[in-house]
Symmetry: C2
Subunit: 186 residues, 2 copies
DNA sequence: CTATTCGGAGTGAACGCTCAGTCCGAGCGT
DNA sequence: ACGCTCGGACTGAGCGTTCACTCCGAATAG
């Protein structure tokens, strides 16, 4: 039974997202999770470890969501659209997870070995890029530049959506995918 | 004499950027700045106020840098290039400032009234967008979407540069400006 | 001399984490 | 079937430490 671990994860996600790492004391996390403080330390070495494990879990969840309906058989344009929309959708539908990831990724506590997790899950994304460049449909740019021109745009838009600066409805989403495609297509 | 206030700002910038908000105790900031702890509280109400004031100061600095050589007389394409390159340059040349801004902007401590500061300084950026849309050179998109498609890309690239994932030399910078232009031009 | 600025030991509050003790179900002897 | 023992998951009051912030005497300026 991992019910308690999950309860601790959920409480941590909620508290850290809404109040920040250092305003989410272990005592509160335990209370919110319905367990004793000591129980946290049966599942995690310390608070930093708890945060780090939660981060890895969410990053994996995100990677899965991005590639939810991916298939290498589809046309490049459609593969792109799906990955892009999936990415945006995840961030829109999971504000707590997004706030947590963003907060931890930008903090100096992020462990170097944790920072690179994403790479191994996102193989299909690189596959897509290589195909596109090889076929001459995409510009010959580095994968990192591709990511910044497309996925980072999606993330930045969802952040503005979350803050209320824009409304990301279907129309805007389509405008944005098209614009991102223009940025990378030859 | 504002020498002490500046010393406190500098020490805070350095410590918070490298160690994080909560691993930069006032005692250390005071030591690094060469002042007593109490002196900090002569210039700032509390630590949160100090951080917030520093954030505003850096945001203003950034806005000035972005528009350093801007002129409404230049062709749209050139205006765009300058703003984009200036933005990237600032973030590349000011890693501490960037780390601080990014960290604070993504934390839940950011005051709502502080979050909107940038808008008033970036009037010329909106001017550029309005002109471009009016002249039919740019797509008819919202200013926020423009920002995500261009400036956020610049910022995201410099972050990768700072982390060592890519090297942002002149060539890559030019590739990126061109790609961003393709994203927004009609 | 007076007014103003500064310094840093000291204070109370809050934190992460520990550990002695509780609780409960599985296993065993009768 | 039943009572007893044992082991480990779990608890939370308490420990040691650290922090933001205060306060008042010292230093400095006018």
């Amino acid at each position: 039974m991992t019910g308690k671990q999950d309860a601790i994860f959920n409480a941590t996600l909620e508290l850290v997202s809404e109040r920040g790492f250092h305003d989410a004391p272990t005592s509160l996390i335990a209370q919110e999770a319905g367990v004793g403080v000591g129980t946290i330390y049966r599942y995690f070495e310390n608070k930093e470890d708890l945060i780090d494990e939660l981060y890895k879990k969410l990053k994996l969840q995100l990677a899965r969501a991005m590639l939810a309906d991916y298939s290498a058989d589809l046309p490049l344009r459609e593969r792109f659209r799906r990955i892009w929309i999936n990415t945006a959708r995840y961030h829109i539908d999971h504000p707590l997870e997004t706030a947590f990831i963003e907060q931890y990724a930008n903090s100096p506590f992020l462990k170097p070995e944790t920072a690179n997790i994403h790479a191994e899950y996102s193989r299909p994304v690189f596959e897509f890029i290589e195909n596109g460049v090889y076929e001459g449909v995409l510009k010959d740019l580095s994968p990192e530049l591709f990511a910044s021109l497309t996925l980072e745009v999606a993330i930045s838009l969802t952040k503005k959506h979350r803050e209320g600066a824009i409304v990301l409805d279907g129309d805007v989403l389509e405008q944005a995918v098209d614009a991102c495609w223009d940025a990378i297509k030859r």
